[in-house]
């Protein structure tokens, strides 16, 4: 898919997810906006998937390890055709099936239920490892938050991915530099991430998490690498696309009020219109 088409899809996903979080009066817009470009590239360009066959044993897998960014995943899945976009209107509602964190039982296209940080990447290791038994050639992707890296289980999973040289596994880290209580550098310093992942035996790649071409290139390089698992460090902006949410930890888990919603929507819609107007 062209970069312009990817940008348009990501812009639509931002509108869907901010609208859903506003309707729900709760949710996690900041991290959803920072990772939605990478999810768009994965689901519209990189992954071998067919929304008509969500259980195909040969499909590529994706695990949203930072499960609180379900609004981003659900939006991309809806746009990709797994379920109607209108389902997003019942995010977090008792009337629907779109629970606050990814639910593989009730939401079509979700490959793993997540929400408890540090666990999704282990599940992704398991999916990649399963291919060694089943002989299937799918790839597995998992997106983590940089705050999530505080969890010790992430590093257990890293050791395991390296032990079994899972070149069919690619982790992506949404490095937006913020977590609930503030800067990741203050809450629990985890840098230097590149040196840490390298020391754990992973092939480290870097990308601009809001540049479709940069994300695509990194994913392609990860697929080329055959000596072990790869991790892509995505430089991102928390709240990307909504001016007052950008780089503000306060928007980690808070819904915009009506006035803020109107402003966010006008910014996001103007951005989409601008992309569509481009020649």
């Amino acid at each position: 898919m062209t970069e312009k088409e990817l940008k348009i899809n990501a812009a639509k996903a931002r509108i869907l997810l901010v609208d859903a979080v506003h309707r729900a009066r709760s949710g996690h817009p900041g991290g959803s906006l920072s990772c939605v470009d990478a999810l768009t590239v994965l689901y519209f360009d990189t992954m071998n998937i067919d929304p008509a066959k969500p259980d195909d044993p040969d499909r590529d897998r994706f695990v949203l390890s930072k499960g609180h960014c379900a609004p981003a995943l659900y939006s991309v899945l809806a746009l990709r055709g797994y379920f109607p976009e209108d389902d997003m209107k019942l995010l977090r509602s008792i009337k629907g099936h779109m629970s606050g964190h990814p639910d593989m039982v009730h939401v079509k296209g979700v490959d793993m239920s997540t929400g408890s940080l540090g666990q999704g990447i282990s599940a992704a290791v398991g999916m990649a490892l399963a291919a060694s038994v089943t002989g299937r050639s799918y790839r597995t992707y998992s997106l983590l938050g940089d705050g999530e890296l505080d969890e010790g289980q992430v590093w257990e999973a890293m050791m395991a991915g390296a032990k079994w040289k899972l070149s069919n596994l690619c982790a992506l880290v949404d490095v937006n530099g913020l977590q609930i209580d503030g800067n990741t550098a203050d809450v629990m310093p985890t840098e230097p991430l590149d040196a840490k992942f390298e020391a754990f035996g992973w092939h480290v790649l870097k990308a601009d998490g809001h540049d479709m071409g940069s994300i695509k290139d990194a994913l392609a390089a990860a697929a080329e690498y055959k000596d072990g698992p790869s991790v892509i460090l995505l430089r991102t902006v928390k709240g990307k696309g909504v001016s007052f949410m950008e780089n503000n930890a306060g928007w980690h888990g808070k819904a915009p009020d009506d006035e803020q919603y109107e402003q966010a929507m006008s910014e996001l819609k103007a951005h989409l219109a601008g992309l569509e107007a481009e020649g």
């Binding site: 408890s116 599940a123 398991g126 990649a128 490892l129 399963a130 395991a160």
Partner: protein
């Protein structure tokens, strides 16, 4: 049959054999380990099926969720570590990544109960049945002997959904194979002795003790029914309700906390559906301590004689009103 003729084997040993014996028949079976393959007895499978054996190192939380991921790809993982880590350290992983999505994983807790012995309280898991039983959709199985364990392993391979299987460290008499009419089905209790004075419902290695207690009681004219509850959840309500209706009291026995395990399950059932006197025999609200398995079991009153004494006392108490 005299006591000398009954073979003794630890359920963990039978489990390890079952994995190897069933591997060809069930190619989806994979075994995950956390650096305890000599103790959990998965080493035989590791040797015979190295491509289906995954040692995750001393990282139980990761192992648990790796298994969850593997199960979504059509495999049937059994995770292995000590019960205290399987149900304790990895509790939230079991809850959120296996039970909540209803995944097809068997979490195996070896060295369950007080009979671990010498290692002491940190390794004597007395709360696993409670912790696993409270999770929605979990099947919780605690076989009493080698024969029952092998049947349980195959049943759990075929079972679809999350399950917990408890193994014991110590060698125990292998009795169920020679009991006429014995058959194994998940969720079905087995009546091993008939009786109409009191019902003793036991699980794990205390089943054999309950049978022996029944024999002791018989000598003094007390007729004790013995029910083997190998599946704590789903509990066989029918066999327990029937026993409650046909005997004067129900005594539960387990080498586990009296809170929330078999005793809890039976008390919950009977208090709502058929209130009769229920007594729970097990480890009172306390941690274990070091000692040989036999000494520790004696210390905490997990013996046939102590069970018989308790049953006799219950019936005396009821007689006196």
């Amino acid at each position: 049959m005299t006591a000398q003729e009954v073979q003794k084997k630890a359920t963990r040993a039978a489990y390890g054999e079952a994995l190897v014996e069933l591997a060809e028949k069930y190619p989806e079976l994979v075994v995950l380990e956390a650096d305890l393959s000599g103790a959990t007895m998965t080493k035989g499978f590791a040797k015979e099926y190295p491509d289906r054996f995954f040692d995750c190192g001393i990282a139980e939380a990761n192992m648990t969720v790796i298994a969850a991921g593997m199960s979504t790809c059509g495999l049937k993982p059994f995770t292995n570590t000590f019960a205290v880590f399987a149900a304790g350290r990895s509790y939230e992983q079991v809850r959120n990544s296996i039970a909540y999505p209803g995944l097809n994983v068997v979490v195996v807790g070896s060295h369950g109960g007080i009979s671990v012995g010498e290692d002491g309280a940190t390794h004597q898991m007395l709360e696993d049945l409670t912790l696993m039983r409270v999770l929605p959709g979990m099947t919780v199985v605690n076989p009493c002997d080698a024969n029952e364990m092998k049947l349980a392993v195959e049943a759990l391979i075929k079972h679809k959904g999350p399950a917990y299987l408890r193994l014991g460290r110590s060698a125990v008499p292998d009795i169920t194979g020679s009991i006429p009419g014995y058959s194994f089905e998940l969720g079905k209790g087995v009546q091993l002795r008939d009786g109409n004075d009191i019902t003793i419902a036991a699980t794990g290695m205390t089943v054999q003790m309950a049978v022996e207690a029944s024999d002791i009681l018989k000598e003094s004219g007390v007729s004790a029914r013995v029910i083997d509850i190998h599946t704590i959840k789903p509990l066989d309500e029918e066999i327990i309700l029937k026993a409650a209706g046909e005997t004067k009291a129900v005594l539960t026995v387990e080498e586990h906390s009296v809170i929330g395990g078999l005793g809890g399950a039976v008390a919950e059932l009977l208090s709502e559906k058929h209130p009769v006197p229920v007594f729970r025999h097990g480890i009172e609200d306390t941690f274990g301590r070091s000692g040989s398995a036999a000494d520790v079991l004696e210390y905490y009153g997990i013996t046939a004689r102590a069970i018989a004494e308790k049953a006799r006392g219950i019936l005396e108490g009821l007689k006196q009103g």
